[in-house]
Symmetry: C2
Subunit: 396 residues, 2 copies
């Protein structure tokens, strides 16, 4: 039997990654990937994992002991959150304002939870009062929300008020911060979030494959009182905690990803969370000034725009696909396209982690400006970069 | 609120990894990890993933179209195998001769399968005739076996005969090759295996975090006829296939792990599977000659010893823990210890992938010899290295 392919050494083009993820890696994070491998029981590895736990507590702004990184992508963290707290038959109120809210509902249904949807039109945030009213009406066991909806660039406001309402009826609040953690304010303890998770490859600035998650007391209490086993072995929180806290064998964590995550989190602490949030905010403002100079329209409304992911509506005269292909082929810049109802109608631009930097924003604006002009849009030369630079001159 | 730790740059000791995994990385595989990141939709990434699929078909010796790598460790691949083919209520015959067979039973139970155990004492293989007799008696829907039991160093013989018996009653055969794939013969199509999975960090020679898996027609047919949804979204085969084959978004695969897996698999094809199996066999023989010269006892019986993982019984005069600590601290060599009934009583030595090399074996034997002598064992100087070298002189 002969199968296989011609041997080849892979060559990888250097892209500027300004899509919805993975984001650009700090050169030091990339370098950490090729440190020598260590076994998961090596004392040096145990110490690095303990560091990661504490650095994650810093990043989530929590004192939760049950804080660790799941050995999988953000979706595995989402499933870990839901699979541990939801029991079959539980009423689960799911806030849906885009693709990832819908995914929360899909996973909940697979786990046997009764999904109660609270929806907003894609591109808008869900009215917190509507969520709170539904919580009172339905008295669910679990409430799930997406804080930063990657499909639309919208931030869900008033998590702390929703949390109070959830706790009044004894519900556990699960919040997805895949596109916000490490990029804009997320305060697990202050906001009263019971389960919060994220991913490595967005604002944290690591590669994907190890995903932060944290569980508070209310969630642990619900897990301890389960009458049915957690359906997954790989994502079972109690097994994961024994692995992280007591080195009880569960799986073989990926050493290069551990080094990279440690380095990325250490950089967050060195920069300081407040400074990092501020940096993402200023870069977003500068980019938006450039976008406005180019007369492009944004999807998300002013008060609900993420600092980390910006969504620009495209129009029929220049197809989304054309812009993305020209950015990739002529400038080696990756940005994302629309999904769901916005398929072919949206640019999704991630300014996340190391990717939220002045020089990258200038590169992207200059490229966008040239592409628009090439396709007949009457944009004044240099307008977008000038508009962005003006924000930097005032802000810094 | 002030949480966090002192900032620090991690320093990682260089170990020689000769435990049950992770194994040593080829320097080219380590280098591939720090290639520039790519998004999962980048045409260059799509091409690399298609390569990986074909290289995995070569490594599994299969023409199965449903061949890919799961974004998690070997345990996630085990769960992917079981979660997709097992429906609640299915009779699942599980062969158990060590820790990982037991894990198959645990996951099966979590998924609602009825576990029927066929066991051998840890350290022995299961009699294939006993498995075949039980298959005829029980007529299960699924049969699960561990080909290479990492906890004991034992290989399960006659998979192809067990496969025929399983197929006679219409059962799907799932085989764990975590510690054999890429190191000693595994032939998915010739042996009639319906679902086969492995891990990156053993004989494949990649880091952990992306785990090979393949499904044949009988397994796909059972999955298509399911009357209940697969409980996991993250590990749902149909979603994974759409992601690998049609770039339908499911998760964000870890670019560094993709590069490393591609490089490791490419090296397998360049070496040639037969040559690679032969290399592992010769290195095992050389190492065993050295172990015999040291008068150490092996756990696994002659006919059922893995070429990839060797288990040495320790005795009370020199504790397992002492040997492992001295190897680590004085020689920077990692080997594994016993688990389950062999806790504190076994050395587990992995000679896997790039780690199956003459120079590493010589280093380990020389170190073991010195440690034994230091603790009062009357071993002639240089005996173990000489015995190993003699095997190489004859074999090469």
């Amino acid at each position: 039997m002969t199968v296989g392919i011609q041997p080849r050494t892979i060559t990888v083009p250097k892209r500027l990654l300004l899509g919805p993820g993975p984001s650009e890696l700090d050169p030091e994070v990339a370098r950490a990937l090729s440190l020598p491998s260590l076994g998961h029981l090596d004392p040096a590895m145990v110490e690095i994992m303990q560091d990661i736990k504490r650095l994650l507590q810093y990043t989530f702004v929590t004192r939760n002991e049950a804080t660790l990184a799941v050995s999988g992508t953000g979706t595995s963290a989402m499933e870990t959150a839901l699979a541990n707290v939801i029991e079959p038959g539980d009423k689960v109120l799911v806030g849906i304002m885009g693709y990832f809210g819908d995914r929360l509902a899909q996973i909940t249904a697979k786990l046997g939870g009764q999904v109660i949807r609270v929806e907003a039109e894609w591109g808008k945030a869900i009215d917190p009062d509507m969520i709170i009213a539904r919580i009172k009406e339905v008295t669910p066991q679990v409430v799930c929300l997406v804080h930063a909806e990657t499909s639309t660039g919208v931030v869900q406001p008033e998590i702390e008020h929703i949390s109070s309402a959830a706790h009044e009826v004894g519900a556990v609040l699960v919040v997805d911060t895949v596109t916000s953690l490490g990029g804009q304010p997320v305060k697990v303890d202050d906001w009263g979030i019971d389960v919060c998770y994220s991913a490595g490859q967005k604002c944290i600035g690591a590669p994907s494959g190890l995903s932060p998650i944290t569980f508070g007391e209310l969630a642990l209490d619900k897990i301890n009182k389960r009458t049915t086993p957690v359906s997954s072995f790989y994502l079972d929180l109690n097994l994961l905690r024994n692995y992280w806290d007591s080195q009880q064998y569960h799986h073989t964590i990926s050493a290069p990803l551990v080094y990279a995550l440690h380095t990325a989190l250490d950089k967050i602490q060195q920069e300081g969370l407040e400074n990092r949030w501020k940096r993402h905010e200023i870069n977003q403002r500068a980019f938006l000034a450039g976008v406005e100079a180019l007369s492009l329209d944004l999807l998300a409304e002013k008060d609900h725009r993420l600092n980390t992911l910006i969504t620009i509506k495209t129009t029929e005269d220049i197809a989304e696909r054309t812009i993305r292909q020209e950015l990739l082929n002529d400038y080696s810049i990756e940005v994302g396209g629309g999904i769901g109802p916005f398929q072919g109608k949206l640019l999704r631009i991630g300014l996340m982690g190391y990717g939220s930097r002045r020089e990258f924003i200038i590169q992207l604006l200059a490229a966008l400006e040239s592409i628009l002009r090439k396709h007949g849009r009457p944009v004044p030369e240099g307008c977008s970069v000038a508009a962005a630079m003006k924000v930097y001159e005032t802000a810094l």
